[in-house]
């Protein structure tokens, strides 16, 4: 009994930390898909560069963790805004195959760039000293950094949701996902809205990539390696939805942790089967947008 409880706590804890990272990275993908109708297979690259920014700025420039994280988010969001203007904009509402092709092209280029710039090995990530080690809660010890991930993730999610609920930008975003033509008709500048959403989504991905560099190690293969996980979160959660992917990230984060805990060898098989089942059950996602 005690053992089962202990396992459940471990799974819940590690699963939750993982889910936060998954969600922060994937929510932008959901918006791009739901709002702009673009299957952005290169979304993982934003997270990867966020991760590189954090690890490299800390290691080479000696920046503190916080500064490196913020710099990474700003850099990647700016890069996302530029890409949106130059490339993605032309894909909106267009041919799916063009989207697949262009974004795979970007994946390949980012992979080459990462390899060229930082080598093929996983980046070493050291949490800042304040967050290293473990903390003890109710007689159990937990890694401090993961606890921080859960708390900061929850805070960020709350901030994001509140922001989208309460601000003018959020209202416009929700209106545009619901009915793009109507949004345009009532005078929402969708071009600008898309650009801002895209930059925001890229920035959040960079944040997730940077914060999660311990859970999803940063390497040039990153955009391909975890792409399926990000896509799964969006497809299961509901493309275009903001809250659906959170539910999906919790579900997948915790069940992945659980399966790997109990059946390390065959866990991924059952996760994939579970995903397939969820997709068949709810083809438009757990929380369909619009």
């Amino acid at each position: 009994m005690h053992q089962a409880l202990s396992a459940a706590i471990s799974i819940g804890f590690f699963g939750l930390a993982y889910a936060m990272v998954l969600y922060l990275i994937s929510v932008g993908l959901s918006v791009t898909l739901g709002l702009m109708g673009v299957v952005n297979l290169a979304h993982g690259a934003f997270a990867m560069f966020g991760g590189y920014a954090v690890t490299e700025l800390m290691a080479r420039a000696g920046l503190p963790f916080w500064a490196a994280l913020i710099a990474g988010v700003v850099l990647v969001a700016a890069g996302g805004a530029v890409l949106e203007r130059v490339l993605y904009r032309r894909l909106y509402g267009g041919d799916e195959l063009d989207q697949v092709l262009l974004t795979i092209g970007l994946v390949f280029m980012s992979l080459a760039a990462a390899r060229f710039g930082f080598g093929t090995l996983d980046q070493v990530f050291h949490p800042p000293p304040a967050l290293a080690g473990t903390i003890t809660i109710a007689g159990r010890s937990f890694p401090t950094y993961r606890s921080f991930l859960i708390l900061s993730g929850a805070a960020l999610v709350a901030l994001l949701w509140l922001g989208l609920d309460r601000t003018r930008f959020g209202a416009m975003l929700r209106a545009a996902v619901d009915n793009p033509r109507m949004a345009e008709a009532v005078g929402i500048d969708t071009g600008r809205l898309f650009a801002v959403s895209f930059a925001l989504g890229s920035g959040l991905a960079a944040l997730g990539g940077g914060l999660g560099a311990e859970i999803l190690p940063i390497s040039p293969a990153y955009p391909v390696q975890y792409l399926v996980d990000f896509l799964t979160v969006v497809a299961v959660g509901g493309a275009g939805s903001i809250r659906g992917p959170f539910l999906a990230a919790l579900l997948l984060g915790i069940s992945q942790t659980a399966f790997l805990y109990f059946w390390p060898a065959s866990g991924s098989f059952f996760i994939d089967a579970l995903t397939l089942g969820l997709l068949m059950w709810r083809p438009r996602g757990l929380v369909p947008a619009a």
């Binding site: 092709l101 092209g105 992979l111 991924s268 995903t275 997709l279």
Partner: protein
């Protein structure tokens, strides 16, 4: 003038035209010109067949798949396991591989084809991922991550052994590709093939015309799975080796890129995109894989900007102007 009689033009569309001989002439010429690269050549030919299977599903059927490797790998493992258990005759192995992959295609198609859009894309991915995990895990049967090592492939037609230089493998792959291509060509020009195009363009309209859309898509998906299975078997038999990555995401994604590069839904896209991609990969990754990925990536981005529809699409546009 063709335009003067649209009926005659439509009635003549399935006739052979002389440029269609070019790929085959090139393939035969390559056999004599590059004797040192026949092993690579055999893999290219097998991949062209794999590309054709994607063209049938995606280019004609309009079903976006990121999991075609499920069928490629099933074919590869079927042929490999048969050869590892004393049934190494290549031709029966090929047929068994095609049937096994087709059976899996029919089965998974029942689920996958009920979905659309992102859910469908993910479902195809999941089917392949599940098989890859299974192949990884069932190491007693498949050799696990190390791959299936002890294949003993027999002689083609009982006469020609697979040798070090790939001569047999090349000609064998070429013959199989040619036969499969004849079938595929007939299929896309048949009323069934035309109705697939109709469903790709507007499935609801095809239903309103009384066409059984789901059943026809399932048939196309099954046939394409069989073709992918045969191509996987060609790979396994000519390399004498199968590993779980034959079911992997790269295997599904790269072929898609190759086909899109050549041009999709045009029957000959794979004949252009696959050799181009694989030869470039072979040359460039000798230098540094980073270069390879960078140039192919840049090529894809530029293509979407300036040459939509792949190389064949670009050629068609130039000819029209």
């Amino acid at each position: 003038m063709i335009a003067a009689d649209p009926v005659a033009a439509l009635a003549a569309r399935h006739r052979w035209r002389w440029p269609e001989a070019l790929p085959w002439l090139a393939a035969v010429a390559a056999f004599f010109l590059f004797p040192g690269y026949l092993a690579l050549g055999a893999q290219i030919l097998a991949s062209i067949l794999y590309g054709l299977s994607i063209d049938l599903v995606l280019g004609y059927g309009g079903i976006v798949t990121l999991g075609q490797a499920a069928f490629f790998g099933t074919g590869a493992y079927t042929a490999g396991l048969l050869a590892a258990h004393g049934m190494g005759a290549p031709e029966p192995g090929l047929i068994a591989a095609g049937l096994a992959a087709a059976a899996l295609g029919a089965l998974s198609g029942l689920a996958v084809l009920r979905l659309s859009g992102l859910a469908q894309l993910m479902a195809t991915l999941m089917v392949a991922a599940m098989l890859q995990s299974a192949a990884d895990k069932a190491s007693a049967i498949t050799g696990g991550a190390d791959g299936l090592q002890n294949m003993a492939v027999g002689k083609v037609l009982g006469l020609f052994a697979f040798g070090l230089y790939g001569r047999t493998a090349y000609l064998y792959a070429l013959a199989v590709l040619f036969l499969c291509f004849l079938g595929m060509r007939a299929l896309v020009h048949s009323p069934f093939g035309r109705s697939l195009v109709g469903m790709r363009e507007n499935a609801a309209r095809m239903t309103a015309l009384g066409a059984p859309v789901f059943a026809r898509r399932l048939i196309a998906y099954t046939i394409a799975a069989g073709m992918a299975g045969i191509s996987g078997a060609l790979y396994a038999q000519s390399t004498g080796f199968v590993a779980p990555d034959s079911l992997g995401f790269d295997r599904s994604g790269n072929i898609l890129v190759m086909l899109l590069l050549g041009g999709i839904g045009r029957l000959y896209g794979a004949f252009i995109g696959v050799p181009l991609f694989m030869v470039a990969q072979d040359r460039l990754s000798d230098l540094d894989p980073a270069y390879w990925y960078f140039w192919i990536g840049l090529g894809l981005v530029l293509m979407v900007r300036f040459a939509r529809g792949g190389i064949l699409g670009l050629a068609a546009r130039i000819r029209r102007e």
